[in-house]
Homo-oligomer: 355 residues x 2
């Protein structure tokens, strides 16, 4: 079967031939339909993130997949059922985090991330997976099933943000997404269309006209150009913000979030930056966190419950949004186009098998 | 009546004569028994924190009080009942935070803090308070009732910390208190004696022998000398820590907490430092927060529910601990001794009226 693999740092994914995998007991064989491409894939390609599986010289990419069960192999799944795979697997069978259904809380070394860290991904015509990591998705949502994984990341982030404010009465009226990449934009859509937050903002550093800024406008959110309004100035120019969602990986934003937050607000951090030393007014930031009960939470990955919530969220996103958001679904014969980062690209996927 | 007041920045509290207050409708008159002294009082005295009430040239100190109802004035309280007052009041009658019982979540400008910000404190022979801000305490605990307010601060901090980790399975097995001042030590006692956390640590920068280090030893905790083991090295020398409680006001500790934390851990920040610019490896800290799901929460003040929890906690602290912890209760004739910061002082109070 064909797969899309990369030698991390080599810069270009290539089509490779691999044997079709055989499901082990407890595993199902899945025929891959579509696999999304995101910023993490580009970081893996560039060699900035991720790790090859033992003995491999290339990593099969892809962690945002949707497929159809080809061989249920005695599991509870049914052949022909549409499924979305979760991403993390236990390196040696299992461990406490996987046993309690919280692989997203496992520390480094206690997980494999398919397509990212130590494990091959889903960008192949077939893949196998333990049935417990395959989440059923209704057929009508399957064409967009590759959006479930990124949405699940935000389901977790928002769940943790809300939990962190659950000891008091907190209902966010304003939210900003830092970053107008694909994760940022789909999160903005969740804020607007599902959570129905009154006033939403999205920070970017792109000139109009741009398809991502069109999406921000059409969602009814306010575009904040970080070149005109740096993060710490957002309260003066717009308002202080109850919920800040950082999806830039720009480390200064993690600290500037404290200034953008309203009293009792929470900032969730999702970016994974490289080391970078810079100066902060640590005294002022510390004081501001304390005197205004502010919180900063890092969050990574997601568990099956978040995938299930994401499928529900996907069903609530308006068609006009997903139509504009997905700028390209490319067949294997032109898979390279899915990795283009051109200015008109928002979200792409590779199609391995027609629906 | 006599009161202890200070001209902020003047450096020395003095005994002043004030008229005995008359309770307004809904208020009770309380005869003050004891009022504790803490780091915030010393910051107010030094002029680093707090604000004078309108028109006043001196601030009556004291926010850690216990008293006895002298005149219930038609409220639900009973004369002779022992009570502890909460600290915050609404500046103009009320506002949304006070209406929902969460004055601790009010932003600056929306509260008066008695004895600290814009309002006179409880260091007087009598004080009045709306009955809803007077929390009954059993007679047998009244001699230590001045510990309820500081314990309530940690009740809130711990409540928020646990809430922030409530979206997953989290049970802290290790905790460290940064700072061996009186708030730090009583919080360490809560960790050991009430929360029963397996392994506890307390960071300080004092030489043995010292009464605070004796208390740390006797509680079964480990003393960490920050001059030998800086905060970021705690995981290497001891272990990474599930719950970090910062009570130093040293701004670098707020950032170093990220390094001390175990995966999925939470750091609560309580210090109120002055502005201070320094360099951080912001990229590494940001990445660490994200990849290990770490959280940092600022928290300030407490509400009536936390005072009620604190009274329950106080009832669970062993007598040997409170006996050693309270190093002096000084009558009005020697009130200055309660403000001594000598090396043998841990926690002091002024006694306004014998129990």
């Amino acid at each position: 079967m064909k797969a899309i693999a990369v030698e991390p740092g080599a810069g270009t994914p290539v089509l490779v031939e691999k044997p079709r995998p055989d499901p082990k007991p407890g595993e199902a064989l899945v025929r891959t339909l579509r696999v999304g491409v995101d910023g993490t894939d580009h970081e893996v390609i560039a060699g900035h993130h991720g790790n090859l599986p033992d003995g491999a010289d290339r990593l099969v990419l892809g962690h945002e997949a949707v497929g159809i069960v080809e061989d249920a192999n005695g599991t509870d799944l049914e052949e022909g059922e549409f499924v979305v795979p979760t991403v993390r697997r236990a390196p040696n069978g299992t461990n406490e985090y996987f046993e309690r259904g919280e692989p997203d809380m496992a520390p480094e070394g206690k997980y494999v991330e398919r397509g990212i860290v130590d494990g091959h991904g889903f960008m192949a015509e077939y893949f196998t997976s333990p049935a417990e990591y395959l989440v059923p998705i209704p057929e009508r949502l399957a064409p967009l099933g590759f959006l479930v994984e990124p949405i699940s990341i935000s389901e977790k982030a928002i769940e943790h943000a809300i939990a962190s404010r659950s000891a008091f009465d907190w209902e966010p009226e304003s939210a900003i997404v830092l970053g107008n990449g694909s994760l940022g934009l789909i999160t903005l859509a969740m804020f607007e269309e599902v959570l129905e937050i009154d006033r939403t903002y999205c920070l970017g550093r792109r000139d109009r006209p741009h398809p991502t800024i069109d999406l921000i406008d059409e969602l009814g959110a306010t575009y904040v150009d970080s070149r005109e309004t740096p993060v710490p100035e957002i309260p003066d120019v717009y308002e202080s913000i109850d919920l800040v969602y950082e999806a830039t990986g720009h480390a200064k934003h993690a600290f500037e979030t404290v200034d953008a937050l309203a009293p009792n607000g929470v900032g969730v951090l999702l970016g994974v930056p490289e080391p970078w030393e810079f100066e902060v007014d640590g005294g002022r930031l510390h004081r501001e966190l304390v005197l205004h009960n502010k919180a900063l939470l890092g969050t990574v990955n997601s568990h099956r419950g978040h995938f299930e919530a994401a499928i529900d969220t996907l069903s609530q996103l308006p068609t006009w949004f997903t139509d504009e958001f997905v700028t390209g679904v490319h067949g294997l014969e032109e898979f390279e186009r899915a990795f283009d980062t051109g200015d008109d690209v928002v979200k792409t996927a590779v199609e391995f098998s027609r629906l």
